[in-house]
């Protein structure tokens, strides 16, 4: 069994990425590939559900950091939800919790997204 798994689905107009397991520098390319695919398909409201994420390093956090500006420029956002205490603390250690929206559960997070601007 792979130590890191990722799957995604659309919920209303929000692309939800479900991360599971151990996300380190060895696994991070798969996370970036899926995030980039979402953005290229025009999904700028992105929710990262980390309910089953047991571990993350700066490699994974760096991917979120690298694309947040592009997503926000398009009127969207990347939010995170359902992180366990340990993973949340890792984000907190680098100061992400002051810049990103961390929400306790998926439903609450979905309700916080604003509709994307209508394309001209």
């Amino acid at each position: 069994m792979k130590s890191f798994q990722i799957r995604s689905k659309m919920v209303n107009s929000v692309a939800v990425l479900y991360l599971k397991g151990h996300l380190d520098a060895h696994q991070v390319a798969r996370f970036e590939k899926e995030l980039v695919r979402m953005i290229k398909e025009g999904n700028f409201n992105i929710l990262i559900n980390g309910q089953d994420l047991s571990y993350i390093t700066s490699a994974g956090m760096g991917i979120i950091m690298g694309y947040i500006d592009e997503v926000r420029e398009k009127g969207g956002d990347i939010k995170l939800c359902a992180l366990n205490e340990r993973v949340h603390e890792t984000f907190d250690l680098v100061g992400f919790t002051e810049i990103y929206d961390f929400v306790p559960n998926e439903q609450s997070a979905l309700e916080k997204f604003k509709p994307l601007p209508v394309k001209a």
């Binding site: 130590s3 151990h22 380190d24 520098a25 060895h26 571990y55 390093t57 700066s58 490699a59 956090m61 760096g62 991917i63 950091m65 690298g66 694309y67 947040i68 500006d69 592009e70 340990r86 890792t90 250690l93 680098v94 100061g95 992400f96 002051e98 810049i99």
Partner: protein, 147 residues
């Protein structure tokens, strides 16, 4: 006064691995296990292992430019006051900035890297790099007492 002289001259445990990211998880589990053997609480041991993950990742990615056949050695030293972990490697010397990490600025520059050293410095009480005769050494210390 605390200083690293409290640590033994020889490591209590050391391991040499190849510069492969697939080995990072093993390094994390090993470091967590050793830290708990050295009487660190589980939560602290988890954070120490994260700092070592970041340090080893930096070696593989930057000093060895992702080449997978280069050696690096991790040494663990225990003392009543804390733990010292050294990573010994060759390759490019580290390029570590003393500049404070500014997340807002990094976001604007769409940077994906640069957070690892911040994590290491936040978790550990001391993080130092030096290069002598082509051998690079990253040394990290965590004291048992609060900072």
């Amino acid at each position: 006064m605390k200083n690293s002289n409290r640590f033994p001259s020889k490591p209590d445990f050391s391991i040499t691995i190849l510069s492969q990211t697939q080995l990072l998880k093993m390094v994390v589990e090993l470091t967590r296990h050793i830290s708990t053997l050295f009487q660190f609480p589980v939560a602290e041991a988890q954070k120490i292992s994260l700092a070592i993950d970041e340090a080893v990742t930096n070696v593989i990615k930057h000093s060895y430019a992702n080449k997978s056949d280069r050696p690096l050695t991790i040494e663990y030293y225990a003392a009543p006051a804390g733990i010292r972990i050294r990573i010994l490697y060759r390759g490019l010397p580290p390029d570590i900035s003393d500049e404070e990490v500014n997340i807002g600025r990094m976001i604007k520059k769409k940077r994906k890297g640069g957070l690892g050293v911040k994590l290491m410095k936040t978790i550990m009480d001391s993080v130092t790099y030096r290069t002598v005769d082509g051998e690079n050494r990253c040394e990290m210390i965590k004291w048992r007492e609060a900072k």
